[in-house]
């Protein structure tokens, strides 16, 4: 049945069009402000486009990259996100497989414990968690993934369990009869079937990790200069004295640009992942 476009549909298109321009406007505003001179950025003039006088090209970007520690923050953010997501995907899918395939009191108990951990707000553990991380020497960007695995396990295990239930057990049994041990069965049979779920969970965890502020802020050892991008941006504002608006705007843009590129490249997966995650949640 081919749909006819009525007048109402066209009006709706126009309204949504205007709304979506309003939706992207804030990002454009940051973009053109990041191209202005430091002195031309103020609360009253944020809506003005850069003119010949106030335009500085990429000076703010150069400043943020060279003298404000943006590169190292970017690197640490990248390291933390990639290592944590990889660890969460592998460990939690294995754990979820065990929980769904072993029918015992402890696997049920573990499952409910993971679900419980999803609801608990971070403020409940922030002080004790950062102290624990400190004591176990997990407060560097290369080891913080252990903390993330522990704190982020709830959502991942929960989602994996939801999908795992729909995988027919007969395939795994066939693999075992053919002589696979459980490890081989998992990596050669279960994991490939799980690929769409891995992508969904990976996307949700990446969205959370890349933007997470409070956990790395409290856990990472800042005396050694470990910062992620959200911490750096907060640092521009939170530190005493004058707020350096120019480099801050540039840093915000450089935080957003990779996200938008990734979003444009794998939009389909991201939107599917969100929808799938919600249905199971």
């Amino acid at each position: 049945m081919e749909k006819r476009h009525t007048v109402k549909d066209h009006i709706l298109s126009v309204i949504l069009g205007i709304l979506s321009i309003a939706w992207v406007y804030p990002i454009f505003m940051i973009l053109f402000n990041s191209l202005k001179k430091e002195t031309s950025i103020s609360t009253g003039t944020a809506f003005e486009l850069p003119t010949g006088e106030s335009f500085t090209g990429l000076a703010n970007y150069v400043n943020a990259l060279t003298s404000k520690g943006f590169l190292s923050a970017f690197w640490y953010s990248l390291v933390i996100t990639i290592s944590s997501v990889a660890l969460i995907l592998i460990c939690c899918s294995m754990c979820a497989w065990f929980i769904t395939r072993v029918d015992a009191w402890y696997s049920k108990g573990l499952y409910y414990l993971f679900v419980f951990s999803m609801v608990v707000p971070f403020q409940m553990l922030m002080f004790t968690l950062s102290a624990t991380a400190d004591r176990l020497h997990l407060s560097s960007p290369y080891t913080i993934c252990v903390i993330y695995l522990g704190f982020g396990a709830g959502l991942a295990v929960f989602m994996f369990c939801g999908f795992m239930k729909s995988i027919p057990i007969t395939i795994e049994e066939a693999a075992m009869i053919d002589g696979c041990n459980p490890i081989q069965t998992f990596f050669l049979v279960v994991l490939p079937i799980l690929k769409p779920t891995l992508i969904s969970v990976g996307i949700l965890e990446t969205m959370w990790l890349w933007n997470d502020y409070l956990l790395p802020y409290l856990v990472l050892d800042r005396t050694k200069g470990y910062m992620t991008i959200p911490i750096l941006i907060q640092y521009f504002r939170g530190s005493f004295g004058k707020v350096e608006m120019g480099p801050m705007m540039a840093s915000i843009m450089m935080n957003i640009i990779p996200i938008i590129i990734v979003y444009l490249l794998c939009q389909k997966h991201i939107i599917k992942g969100v929808a799938a995650g919600a249905v199971k949640g």
Binding site: C95, V119, Q123, L149
Partner: protein, 283 residues
């Protein structure tokens, strides 16, 4: 097969479980214990009974933060879900540009709370300056409205995706049968689409309620609790009690507040799930 898997538990469960103990179970239990103590560092904690709780429940700032958070959560949940549902209904009519609109509306979700907070801080302050009104951090009602706008901008896209998925999973037969029976658009919406959408509504309400209640990054970046803690939400209030004050008693108070906060979030989640689950229909 089960027996074979059981034998391999150190491989399958142990890494996650060990990290879970470090990252959740142990800090959680320790936090629970410390909420009854007076402490600066964990090693030097002295038992304090219920004093922390009594303080927390009588502190004016904390109570204000509670009501502020509750009001914010209700207002933002209603705005987000109403708008997201409306947009989802519009985008499932197969109008022109559906994919583009969907992409645009979803995008703010990918940007983190701190960054979003600053973007809106700059934008809203500019609007207020041009109107000759006090800035966000000087006038609490504006701070409240700013937070609601910010949350709407961020969350509508996410909820919209869930509603679209829900709408698309309603079998076409239902709509067709309703049309043949002579139902008009409004009747179809209220009698067919919405009842079948209840699972999505449950999820979205759950997510927006808990997100609103647990909000921290956006609050910190947009207003920072100014003026005078008037726009401080619970999470930020707890954070400030922990790290914004000096004195041996504050960390204990903060931990007690955190336990109260945690119980609140759990109770709200359970009540909400029970209330809307009962309204779901079987397909």
């Amino acid at each position: 097969m089960e027996k074979a898997i059981k034998k391999y538990w150190p491989v399958f469960v142990l890494p996650t479980f060990a990290a879970f103990i470090i990252g959740f179970v142990w800090p959680f239990l320790q936090g629970l214990y410390l909420s009854f103590c007076k402490f600066i560092t964990i090693d030097k904690a002295s038992f304090n009974g219920l004093k922390n709780y009594i303080f927390a429940l009588t502190e004016a700032d904390f109570l204000h933060a509670f009501w502020f958070t509750a009001l914010f959560t209700v207002v933002s949940t209603l705005c987000i879900n109403a708008a997201a549902l409306a947009i989802a209904l519009a985008l499932t009519r197969e109008i022109k540009g559906t994919n583009l609109f969907r992409s645009v509306f979803f995008m703010p979700n990918l940007i983190g709370g701190i960054v979003l907070g600053y973007i809106w801080n700059i934008l809203l302050n500019c609007v207020l300056t041009l109107l000759g009104k006090p800035l966000l951090s000087l006038h609490a009602p504006y701070g409240f409205i700013g937070l609601v706008i910010l949350m709407c901008w961020q969350q509508i896209g996410y909820m919209m995706i869930i509603y679209i998925a829900g709408l698309q999973s309603i079998p076409g037969d239902y709509l067709e049968a309703a049309r043949i029976d002579g139902a008009n658009e409004r009747q179809i919406l209220w009698k067919v689409k919405l009842p079948n959408l209840m699972p999505s509504i449950t999820i979205c309400l759950f997510l927006s309620l808990t997100n609103g209640f647990k909000l921290f990054d956006q609050n910190l970046a947009l207003t920072g609790g100014d003026p005078a803690h008037k726009t401080e939400m619970l999470a930020l209030n707890i954070y400030q009690t922990f790290y914004g004050r000096s004195g041996p008693q504050w960390k204990g108070y903060g931990q007690a507040k955190a336990v109260i906060f945690c119980v609140l979030v759990i109770v709200i989640s359970l009540c909400q799930l029970r209330a809307t689950r009962s309204k779901e229909v079987q397909q």
